[in-house]
Every structure is written in structure tokens, then in C-alpha cells.
């Protein structure tokens, strides 16, 4: 049975169709890349998958739960790393992760172990008692990544996982995501970064105009192939008219 199944999902905001017939599924062991430009409908899809908003049409199955009718059940089962940075919280990373553990009804000892493990893995041990507001954006992102995995969920939904991280930590996070998915879990990564998708994902769904327009197994494609596929499906006329300098910039 699949971890995540989405069928003919639709969601409009007034006259704007943010998601328009989105369908895809994700299996255990997959690191699925949800690749698309800004405004393609990625965030609206994630918000639907986690029960934050109710779609207009379509069905969603997340680990056997329906986030539209039972959002709490869904959010209990999955880990979520939202796109937008959390507003300034005055908790320290230690307190914030305790808060998350408490809200998720986790065992106190397991939370304490998890805090130590994640702080060491992402290198924020020395910041455990610094107020969240006084952390750099990169440090904040590390804490947010930690909270998404604290309860070791079967499925983690991540919006731009590497935002604000330094190259070293980016590599660590990439390796972790790959190994986490390989351990019979699933990771759903929403990104507009082709290199990230090509680097870590096992399969990529390219999103444009609110739906999946192409799916590729990354094992069969190079980063350049993925870029070509992306340009073929996403606003291709405009993208291919870009000056060569800017095309080079995209590729690098």
C-alpha cells in the first residue's frame, strides 16, 4: 500500500486555480521530489496533504488517513517542515523541541534523547539554550528540521529542506534524507531547485499550473536531462528565450 496517494486534487482561491487536477502517489522507500517554479501549486498541495486547508475536489490518502476529514490524525502520523519560517518564538531550541514532543504526546525520555541526537547531528549543541529569535536563519532551519523528524514518522513532508543551510550541513541533510527514506520510510520534498531534486530524489514529479506535468525516475536522468525536461514542461517558451548567460546561471 502506498504512503501517499493524491487523485484529481483541485483548489481555487477566488478565480485563481492554485491546484488543478493534481494526481500522484508515493511509496515506501521513496524520496519524492515535487519540483516546480514559484506559484505552481506546491505549497497549496502540501497544505491540503496536511489538512491545513480543505480542497475543492479530489481525494487524498496519507498513511491511510484522510487529512480533509481527519487532519489531526494525519498530522499525528507525519512530520511537517513548513515553507515559511516560524514567526519569532522566544523558546530556546531545547524548549521548542520539548514543546513539539509534548504536543505530539511523546515520551519525555525519548524527546530528551531526540534533542541530543539532532543537536549533535546538525551541530547546534551550543545553541540549545539560545532564544529562537536570536538564532541565525540557518540555525532556525536546523531546529525546524529536527522537529519534523522528532517522532520518527513514516512520512515527512518538507518544503525547501536546504533553505539557509551552509554547504556542509546541506550535505549532511541530503545524506540523512536519503538514508531515512531508504529505511522503508518516505520523504516528500517540495522544491524549485533542480539540483536538489536531481541530487537526492529517487523520483521527481514536475509541477506546473497546478498539476503534475511529468514524472521522472532520477536514476535514469542526469541533472541536465532533468533541466531539459523541466524547461520542456514549465513555461517552455519563456524559459528557452532566456539569454545564454542566465541559462548558464540556472545550470550552475
Amino acid at each position: 500500500m502506498g504512503v501517499l496517494r493524491v487523485d484529481e486534487l483541485r483548489k481555487s482561491y477566488g478565480d485563481v486555480r492554485a491546484v488543478d487536477g493534481m494526481s500522484f502517489d508515493v511509496e515506501h522507500g521513496e524520496l519524492f521530489g515535487f519540483l516546480g517554479p514559484n506559484g505552481a501549486g506546491k505549497t497549496t498541495t502540501i497544505r491540503s496533504l496536511t489538512g491545513q486547508i480543505v480542497p475543492d475536489e479530489g481525494t487524498i490518502d496519507v498513511l491511510g488517513t484522510d487529512p480533509t476529514t481527519a487532519p489531526i490524525e494525519t498530522r499525528t502520523r507525519v512530520g511537517i517542515l513548513p515553507e515559511q519560517a516560524t514567526p519569532p518564538s522566544f523558546l530556546t531550541p531545547e524548549e521548542y523541541l520539548e514543546f513539539v514532543g509534548d504536543v505530539r504526546d511523546l515520551d519525555e525520555g525519548a524527546v530528551a534523547d531526540g534533542i541530543d541526537r539532532w543537536a549533535e547531528r546538525l551541530g547546534f549543541e551550543s545553541k540549545l539554550e539560545t532564544l529562537h529569535t536570536d538564532l541565525s536563519r540557518g540555525q532556525q532551519q536546523k531546529v525546524m528540521i529536527s522537529q519534523a523528524f522528532l517522532h520518527e514518522p513514516e512520512l515527512v513532508l518538507i518544503d525547501e529542506p536546504l533553505a539557509n543551510l551552509d554547504p556542509l550541513v546541506q550535505e549532511q541533510v541530503k545524506q540523512f534524507l536519503t538514508s531515512y527514506a531508504a529505511a522503508d520510510n518516505a520523504v516528500f520534498v517540495s522544491t524549485h531547485n533542480i539540483d536538489v531534486a536531481a541530487d537526492i530524489c529517487t523520483r521527481v514529479g514536475i509541477v506546473a499550473d497546478g498539476k503534475i506535468v511529468a514524472e521522472r525516475s532520477v536514476a535514469d536522468e542526469t541533472s541536465d536531462d532533468l533541466l531539459e525536461t523541466f524547461l520542456d514542461h514549465v513555461d517552455d517558451a519563456n524559459a528557452r528565450d532566456l539569454p545564454s548567460l542566465e541559462r548558464d546561471a540556472i545550470q550552475t
Binding site: T50, Q52, T92, E98, F99, V100
Partner: protein, 520 residues
Amino acid sequence: MSGAGTDASRSTQPSKSSSAPGQRGRPGRQRVGSSFVGDGTNRLLFAALLREEWRLHTQLFGGGRFLTFPLLIAVLTAGATVALVETGTAASTVVFGLHVLALGFGLYSGTAGFAGSSMLENVFGGLSLVLGTAATLPLSRRRLLGIFLVKDALFYAVVFVLPMATAAIPLEGVSATTPVDIATLWLSLSLVFAAGMTATVALIALRTRGVPTWTLLTLVAALASGVLGSASATLAVAQTLVVPQSASLPAGVGLAGATALVAAASLAVYDPTYGKPTRTAVDQFARLRRLGDTVPGATGVNDPLVVKTLLDLSRSAGGVWKPFVSAGILLALVAALVGVVHEITGIEPAPGIFFGGVLGLSAFTTYNWLTQFDALESYLAYPVTIADVFRAKRTAFVLVGTPAVAVPYLAAVLWFGAALIDALVGAVLLAGFGLYYYGLTVYIAGFDPNEFLFDSVRFGQFTVGVAVALVPALVAGFVVVPPTPEVALTLAGVGIGFGAIGAVLSSRAGPKWDRQYRHQ
């Protein structure tokens, strides 16, 4: 806002050639090295800030709702003025009340507009032109803040104070001098508004120079007790400072000059590099949670959502004292008003009923503080409902709001010598009305109580909701002094009834906003 940002960005373009593509020369803008100089830049910044403020409000509230806001202020003020005059209140008392309101709003605007505090950063983030450009353009933060304050003073003088000034019409009746009367009152109210704003700015500027908060609070308390030491002194100060139009021309000009002087000095004193050192804290979350689990009386703090709210409040700028200060300001303004009304008319209300009813309004400011440091969306990454979040806010409101309002209420009943029955019924009104105002705020404004102040529809609903409870209680407080047992019992029943309505409203707010948010 975007337009404002675009204009400002344009000025940063390198001027390799005046005919460079996309670049246009602008009169009044000169460059020396990497610095901007000249009045042209000030005008440009002022216009950009003004445009930003305008778009912030009109786009946030769908345009029409904000555009009708000044009209609503005018209608409410005129309505209240007519009602007060018809019931025998002296015109001078009404004018004084308007000045007290303008002063209070000025004090609040100074806090919110200048502090660069946690609240401001949460609301506007890095998008605000005034906060952003100092970091990206060769412009000093001090200069930007100076222009920002002038813009704020002028913007609110037009949007908020001018409609209030129109209340002069029913005071004097329409005549050939009406435009002059309105203009005079507007200038007078604007001056008081600016003075209030400047006072707050001065305190904040001193704070950036390391003057401890407790020293500033002591200074304010000393000044207040000295100035408001007696009713006659209050009246004298009020006529000179709070109501400039009643004082002599030199006094009015003196106040204007002093305000400008203090504002300029504050900007000079203000340290733009002021920043708090990185703050650390030992684990209070676990400690509070354990307290909630083990201490029977500590109900509420066994909820992680409540604990987070309390920690956010206590560690943000101003600490846990913010709700106390807000309630204290309300107390000071109302106390001054009562003193002046008594001095002019000889009527003094039953202090318990009067202060119990009015201080309940601090429910709005307390709830506002409790929602400034998080966003509803941020909780939706966890397995909690929106109703859970609102329930936690209500618990936090009771934990923080009760002492925040009880202290000024006790001070008021002791200071004004309330009879026991009056104090008791006032306490019931305070609790009941406080819960009612809270429920009303949460139900109408959801998680954004600060924003609905400029949404005329919601503000109108809130105002009517407040008036329905408050006006009859205040009338009773003025008419039956001290309250008879029958009146006291009736008012207590009214307080309990409104409290029950507030409980129902706050319970329904969660499901209501859950529907609105998830089905947007």
C-alpha cells in the same frame, strides 16, 4: 507597499550614465559619493513611507473597509458627543475627553511605531520599508525613523484625529465659524496626539542608551503622581497640556515647541546600533509543565500551548509587564477623566462600577499581547486544532489578564474610596465584562486583534458590542452613587450574564475560525 519599495530601490541603482536603460533622472535628488543628501531624498522617503502606510491599510482590509474607517470614527464621535451633551455633559468635558483619547492613542502609536520591538518585527518582519532600507541603502536608521515618525503623526492626524475633530459640530452647532472651530480642535487634538507619541519615543530613546526600564517606570510614576496629585492640579495641567486650545496661545505654542524639541532630542539620543546581546535561557518549559502536572492550583500550565504562550509573552520586549502597563495606562486615562468631570460638574461616579466596567476593556490589549508572537498557521504543523489554540489563548488570558486588571482595579477603588457594595459589584462587572470583551474580540477578530482596529466593519461590530454592555453600566454608575442593593444585584446579574455570553463567544471562536481558515 510594493510601489514604495520599488521607488526606494530605484534610488539605489548605480548612476553610471544618466541615460542608462531603465534609469531616469529625478529632480531634487543629489548624490555625493555613496551618500544621499538634500531635501529631495527626504521628500522621496516621506512619500514612499506615506504610500506604504496607505497601501498597508487599504490592501490589508480590502480598501473599502479602511476607507470608511475615518467615517466610522466621525459618526461614533459625533454620536457620543450628541448623547453626552443631551444628557447634560458640559461641552468642555467632552472636549477634554477627546483630548484624553488622542493622548492615549498617541502614547500607543509611539510604542508600536518606534519600538522596533518584538511585536513590530513579528507584524511587519523584514518587509517594512522603514526597517529594511536602513540595512540596504546608505541611509541612517535615525534619519529614517525621524521621517517615519513625522509620517505617522501626519497620517493619523488625518485618518484618526480629523474625524474626531468633526465632533465639534454638535457641540457648538453649525455656524460661520464652524470650519475654524473644527480646524482649531483638530490642531489641538493633533498636538496632544503628537505629544503623547513623543513622550513614548523619548522613553524608548532613553532605553536604547541603557537607562533601565525600572528607572523609566519610576520616572513616569513620579511625574504622574506629581502632576495628578490633586484634582485641581489635574485640571490645571489638563487645560494647559491636554487641551491646548483652552490654554493661552503662548502655552499652546510652548507645548508645540516643547514637543518638537523633545522629539528632536529623542532622535539625537536614540542609539540606532542598540541591540540586545544574544539571550539564553535555562529550560523553563519543562519546569512550568511539571508545575502544571504536580501543583493542583496551577491548572492550565499543563497544556504545552499555554506554556509556549506564557514564555513568548514573558521573554518578548517588555516582558510579562506589558499587559500590566496597558491596563495601567487605561486606569490613568480614566482616572484623569473622572477627576476632571468631578471638578467641572461636581458629579463623581460610583468608582467600583465605573472602573469595573471600563477596565474590563483591557481584555482587548491583554489578548492582543498574547497573540503578537505567533501565527495560527505555525501551529498547523502539529496535531492540534485551531480550536485547541484558541482554548490555550483563553487559559493564558485568564492567567495573565486577571492580575493585570485586578491590580489597577484595586488601586482605583482604594484611591477613590469606593463603598464596599460598590467595590464588590464593580469586581463582578470587571470579571464579567472582561470575559465578554475577550469573547467579543476573539470571535470578531480571531488571531489578529490589532488589525481589526482599522477594519471599519469589524471595528463597528466591536464598538456596538462594547457599547451595549458598557453604556448602561456607566449610566447606572453615575446616577446611583453608591449603588442601592437592588441596583447592585441587577448590575451583578448583568455582569454575570455578559460573562456567560463572552464564554460562549470565545468557545465558538475556535470552530468559526477553523472553518474560515481551512475553507479559505
